[in-house]
């Protein structure tokens, strides 16, 4: 009996650790550092119908206990992802993966989802309606509950795979968006994407990021992510994949207490390529420390 295993729609995870989209490439880049088959699953780099070049540099700025990025969904487009990137990934990873899909129009999303659903190694779609770094679409789909509902419904009708919807924290009421996508048929919720922030260079007087604003991630946002997961958990029945500042095994437990069934690890991968491996190895010890026999028993414990 594996005390770390958890279940998401269509995914049986050996452990709840999933590298987050945008911080783990297409997986194979990390397989030169460790055998990535130890991961629960992985969510690959946000993919769009057409190839995207992303924003101008600088795209990265550091903050207190965090970082800002404004990559802008740079990716080779869904055809190359399907035919090139996922083939390379398949050589080093033998579990189903999560396909993170972005877009600018309803049709973009639907077409990209249809194409990526042909892959034998994709086990679920993660609908990115929360990227703060693209001007056309992205977050716009995740900040209006009616649009989020419509997109989720259309995407559900275009794929046989379960659809996880990745939510933006940059909204007045995340609960109503979560409830809307659940009603539209979403199978799970991933949350949270980054919080919009900025830094300014005092020498030049100008924003550090070429795009002015970027998405804040890292330990700085963990408490916000916990609060939002906690709120959404109370209002939806579908599972939540929690993320935001997960750096170690204790952070994993805290996120699961708040209501997450599994977690995604993002920024930590950029600082230490072995971050997910270390967290997976650390988990049983930290569970022992808190008297947790099976990790499933702590999902939502903070609500009891």
């Amino acid at each position: 009996m594996n005390r770390l295993s958890v279940k998401l729609p269509n995914l049986e995870l050996d452990n709840p650790i999933i590298p987050a989209s945008g911080t783990f490439g297409f997986g194979y880049e990390f397989s030169e550092y460790y055998d990535i088959n130890i991961l629960g699953s992985l969510s690959f780099k946000g993919t769009t119908l057409e190839k995207r070049f992303g924003n101008k540099t600088p795209r990265i700025a550091e903050t207190y206990a965090g970082m800002l990025n404004s990559i802008g969904l740079q990716n080779p487009g869904v055809h190359d992802v399907l035919n090139v990137e996922l083939k390379k990934l398949k050589e080093v990873f033998n579990k189903p993966v999560i396909a993170n899909i972005g877009g600018s129009t309803f049709d973009d999303y639907i077409e990209a989802v249809k194409i990526i659903s042909k892959s034998s190694i994709v086990g679920a779609i993660e609908l990115n309606i929360s990227c703060p770094n693209v001007s056309d679409g992205g977050m716009a789909f995740g900040t209006n509950k009616d649009i989020a509902y419509k997109l989720t419904k259309l995407v559900k009708e275009s794929t046989h795979l379960p659809v996880y919807v990745k939510l933006s924290p940059n909204v007045t009421n995340i609960v109503e968006i979560a409830m809307a996508v659940e009603e539209a048929g979403a199978d799970a919720i991933s949350m949270i994407n980054t919080l919009v922030g900025m830094r300014i260079n005092l020498k030049t007087g100008k924003p550090i990021l070429a795009n002015n604003y970027g998405g804040l991630s890292g330990p700085a946002i963990k408490s916000v992510a916990l609060r939002l997961v906690h709120q959404v958990y109370q209002n939806v029945k579908i599972p939540i994949i929690g993320m935001g500042g997960i750096m170690n095994a204790k952070d994993v437990l805290e996120m699961m207490y708040a209501g997450a069934t599994a977690v995604q690890v993002g920024t930590a991968n950029l600082i230490d390529p072995l971050a997910c491996k270390n967290i997976i190895e650390e988990l049983p010890k930290v569970m022992d420390e808190y008297g947790i026999k099976n990790i499933k028993e702590i999902i939502g414990r903070a609500h009891l």
């Binding site: 780099k45 992303g54 206990a65 990025n69 950029l270 600082i271 390529p273």
Partner: protein
């Protein structure tokens, strides 16, 4: 690749400029122009690593030269001998040494000079002749000149304030001394790199970008070239002059 390395020396060599030497067992071959990525300290005060190019590599010892540019490098400058640093290395592609050109030139600007030293050393080992042009802001900023001279190279210097050598930038020295070359290697401020692109001569240029990870995962440092988008940390930092897009 991710390891703790012991500091052997960390000392000031010019204004705000420090030389740090650390030792370790490096399993991978180290090429000139590659860089390392340093975690300044445990914890989350400086979340991201600091990428710094390799200046010298010898007998299991790596030398870097860095300038205090912010809080992170300030804390790095206070590290003492026998302390350990968490470092990812070696990263990036590095320079390719060209044997087929007769008059090769190494052009460095300020804190971009260090990686060119290991390049010069490797060129000397291959008996390739080269000249060196180095640009600094002021005489107080000058470093590494003796080391280049010890390799037997002719070193010409410019300072922006004219306090040493030719007044102006590296292009001014090249013009004033009428230095003739058919291939170059360079690292320094982007303006300097662009003025070399403008010469339309062939060469290799080492670029700097703000990085997230330093090993190709985040796409944070990716820039447009004539052929494709390239990640400065992975397909760079060294790019061929023929692929660099000129901009003002």
């Amino acid at each position: 690749m991710n390891n703790k390395y012991k500091i052997l020396l960390n000392t000031k060599i010019a204004k705000d400029t420090y030389k740090l030497i650390f030792e370790g067992n490096f399993s991978k071959e180290i090429s000139p122009g590659q860089f390392i990525n340093i975690k300044i300290e445990d914890g989350y005060r400086f979340l991201l690593r600091r990428p710094i190019s390799i200046c010298d590599y010898n007998n299991g010892k790596i030398t870097i030269i860095y300038k205090i540019l912010g809080e992170g490098t300030k804390v790095l400058s206070l590290k003492k001998e026998n302390e350990y640093l968490d470092i990812l290395l070696p990263l990036g592609n590095g320079f390719k040494i060209m044997e087929e050109y007769n008059s090769q030139l190494i052009v460095g600007g300020g804190v971009g000079i260090p990686p060119l030293y290991l390049l010069a050393k490797r060129m000397k080992e291959k008996n390739i002749n080269f000249e060196v042009v180095l640009g600094f802001n002021s005489s107080k900023d000058i470093f590494l000149v003796k080391e280049f001279e010890a390799l037997g190279a002719s070193v010409s210097i410019s300072t922006m304030d004219g306090s040493f050598g030719t007044k102006g930038n590296v292009i001014d020295v090249i013009n004033e001394l009428n230095i003739v070359y058919d291939y170059y290697y360079t690292c320094g401020p982007e303006k300097m790199l662009m003025s070399l692109i403008k010469t339309e001569k062939l060469g290799q240029l080492s670029f700097e970008e703000r990085m997230g990870c330093g090993f190709g995962a985040c796409m944070g440092c990716s820039i447009k070239t004539k052929t494709s988008y390239k990640r400065i940390c992975k397909e760079g930092p060294v790019l061929e002059s023929s692929e660099v897009i000129y901009h003002e």
